[in-house]
């Protein structure tokens, strides 16, 4: 029966099962979103007096929540929207660029940091903290610590022969994400207070970039690893520099991975809540704060909250629509053949 068809083409039954599975999954994904959408058109009384499912049949849709959010709250929402967009886009691009170059480095070069140097660094750090705790001004403490570290590196650091590897570096990078934000949020607040960056977008861009870089490194590392190194070697023989190879050959080849990683970094920054809560007051307020603000002294105002969540989803949907086609088979196949 299957003789005349391509061996890879699925049978009608398989196609049917595939669509069934996709349909069920879509239902699981869509139903909460549908509920969100209709809640945004409900009057408070329709939300509070039992489940109503279908607009016009069950309840009479109303635009009151949309009018309130876009009208009364308009200036606040617009500012938060602009902040979120600027902060998320710039931190995602920064993290992607830093992460991709670090990931490239970790897949193509061998690093061998000495264990002795790492231990020395931690010891000097402890030294600095101790001095600061004993009342030495922090500038002096850091300076002394650095001096001791450099001196030690020249002498003690060479004694130990054991090396760490690229994998250890990668692991260290990702381990920076382990500590829950609740625990570090006060020191981060103090840090940005010292830098005079509280309530600015810069503070958010910096902190989101820092917390998202490890994820970019890890994801991009896998995509780079799947790119055959032959192409790069050819280019190197032709005299292209590493930077040029990275920029004009490796990055385009890794386009699907780059796009997927960019989308993820973007939504992580787009959605971040706790750091934004601490680092911004009014000027740099972001959309997740607006969502949380809809649950306040008057109870949770589901209708307003739904509108704001929908407003938050829309740009990401548009971006995903535009970028999705790039998460498609890249140029690798053609490049290797050609």
């Amino acid at each position: 029966m299957r003789r005349n068809r391509s061996p890879l083409a699925p049978s009608p039954l398989q196609v049917g099962l595939s669509y069934l599975a996709l349909g069920l999954a879509s239902l699981f994904v869509l139903f909460p979103l549908y509920w969100l959408l209709i809640t945004s058109f409900k009057l408070p009384i329709d939300v509070n007096s039992g489940p109503f499912y279908l607009p016009w049949l069950d309840f009479k849709p109303s635009l009151h929540a949309w009018e309130y959010v876009l009208g009364t709250l308009g200036p606040d929402v617009r500012r938060a929207y602009a902040n979120t967009a600027v902060v998320a886009l710039s931190s995602a691009l920064l993290a992607l660029f830093l992460g991709a170059s670090a990931a490239y480095a970790l897949t193509r070069f061998q690093y061998r940091p000495r264990v002795g140097a790492v231990v020395l660094f931690v010891a000097c750090l402890g030294f600095v903290v101790l001095m600061a705790a004993l009342g030495v001004p922090w500038q002096v403490a850091v300076g002394l610590g650095l001096a001791v570290f450099i001196l030690g590196l020249q002498t003690l650091g060479r004694r130990f022969r054991r090396h760490l590897s690229n994998d250890d570096i990668a692991l260290w990078l990702i381990s920076n994400r382990i500590l829950p934000p609740v625990v570090v949020v006060i020191p981060i607040y103090l840090l940005f207070q010292q830098l005079g960056l509280l309530d600015t977008r810069t503070a958010l861009v910096i902190s989101y970039t820092v917390i998202n870089v490890p994820i970019a490194v890890w994801l991009m590392r896998d995509y780079f690893q799947n790119i055959p190194p032959d192409i790069e070697e050819c280019a190197q023989i032709d005299g292209a520099s590493r930077y040029r190879i990275f920029w004009t050959i490796v990055l385009p080849l890794a386009a699907p991975g780059l796009v997927a990683t960019f989308l993820l970094l973007l939504v992580f920054a787009w959605n971040e809540y706790l750091l934004a809560l601490f680092l911004s007051k009014a000027n740099s307020q972001t959309m997740p704060l607006m969502v949380a603000a809809m649950s306040g002294t008057r109870g949770t105002e589901w209708w307003y909250m739904s509108v704001i969540i929908i407003l938050m989803i829309l740009p990401v949907v548009l971006l995903a629509l535009v970028l999705e086609r790039y998460i498609e088979r890249g140029l690798i196949v053609g490049a290797v053949k050609g």
Partner: protein, 383 residues
């Protein structure tokens, strides 16, 4: 300008070639540093201070004093409180008598199973099995005991076990669902573009929003699922009052939000599977399962290992869903470690919050290094 000779031979370029060429050659030699150092320095600059600061606060207590608040050093008192003192049951749970029996038996079964499995895989006697794997195995068994011995009636799960439950079950479900959906969407069926965008959607909602959304959905009076429960004869059942029901609700929310992460990473990884190999295998009569198992899956392994690692690390920090959906209740049934820390922090008990955070750091670091020692090298084909 930069198109002149710049590769490794550039070191041999004579001096008279000028500053520019020497600069380019130097840049080329330093490439490994220039690619990696920016990331390392940025992270060091902004991570060290918060790390040290919170470590210090975990060793101290916030006190009211003349003119405000002050941090006073109390040594390991916060850790003692969490591990041995008044917060012990809250954090570690309480094994009942059944719990002990079941836990110890589960441990034995696990241990024996592990030994037999390794012996079978390696084809060598058990007593060679020492060193790092032994240590790792003991740690794993310790985790397993902490978890198993608190699962049965008459026992009490602490925030540690609840978190482990979310992380282990949640990550597994997210990975499997994400893999299935990615495989379906990678097939050239009409309409997959629509599904691709659709399945990314849940990621676009801020976790707080997801938590509120699931609170709407699971509302026992006005939620959309109420008629369904009543039709099933479960009208009187309230998942809020049932510990496992509440945990399940949190878990479903978590899976809803984070399956797209697995989906998008695996979808991108699927693009690097060489199509010729798949076609050749199909021509040779390999079944779909064989093609997946022996051709496609090996290409997904590195990305899968990374993905699971990231989800493990992120999963341990789950806080918004249990906080908003159930406020940690009933009792402390759905409270995660981070939420525990958050509750402590909200009462200005910053020391305990930080101590919990660092215990979590210790736990996750152990889990991560076990994972890095055992799973990652195999997934990347380095063993």
């Amino acid at each position: 300008m930069g198109e002149r000779v710049q590769s490794k031979q550039a070191e041999a370029v004579p001096r008279r070639e000028g500053v520019w060429v020497r600069l380019v050659a130097w840049l080329e030699r330093q490439a490994p540093a220039f690619f990696l150092l920016p990331t390392v320095l940025v992270i060091l600059a902004f991570v060290l201070f918060p790390l040290v600061g919170s470590l210090y606060s975990s060793l101290s207590r916030l006190r009211f004093s003349d003119g405000g608040l002050e941090l006073s050093f109390v040594g390991l008192a916060n850790y003692r409180k969490v591990l041995l003192g008044s917060e012990q049951v809250h954090f570690l749970g309480q094994p009942g008598a059944t719990g002990w029996v079941v836990g110890v038996m589960g441990l034995l079964v696990l241990g024996v199973g592990l030994v037999v499995y390794r012996r079978y895989r390696a084809g060598r006697p058990v007593w060679v099995w020492l060193g790092q794997p032994l240590l790792g195995g003991l740690l794993l068994l310790g985790f397993a005991w902490l978890f198993l011995s608190r699962l049965w009636p008459g026992t009490h799960m602490g925030t540690l076990q609840t978190t482990l439950f979310y992380v282990l079950v949640g990550t597994a479900l997210q990975y499997l669902l994400g893999l299935g959906l990615a495989l379906l969407c990678a097939e050239r069926l009409p309409g997959t573009r629509f599904f691709r965008v659709l399945f990314i959607l849940p990621l676009a909602i801020t976790p707080i929003g997801v938590a509120y959304m699931f609170r709407m959905l699971t509302d026992t009076g006005k939620g959309p699922l109420v008629p369904l429960w009543e039709a099933l004869g479960l009208g009187g059942f309230s998942w809020v009052n049932d510990p496992w029901g509440a945990r399940l609700a949190v878990l479903i929310g978590d899976v809803w939000q984070w399956t797209p992460f697995a989906f998008i990473v695996l979808l991108a990884a699927l693009q690097s599977v060489p199509q010729e190999q798949v076609e050749a295998a199909a021509v040779d009569g390999a079944s779909r399962w064989q093609i997946f198992r022996h051709i496609i899956f090996p290409y997904l392994l590195p990305a899968s290992a990374t993905l699971v690692l990231i989800r493990l690390i992120e999963g341990f920090k789950i806080v918004d869903l249990p906080n908003i959906l159930t406020n940690g209740g009933p009792g402390t049934a759905t409270e995660s470690i981070t939420l525990h820390a958050y509750f402590a922090w909200r009462t200005l008990d910053i020391g305990t919050a930080a101590a919990l955070g660092f215990l979590l750091l210790l736990l996750v670091s152990l889990a991560t290094s076990l994972y890095a020692a055992w799973v990652l090298p195999r997934a990347r084909g380095q063993v």
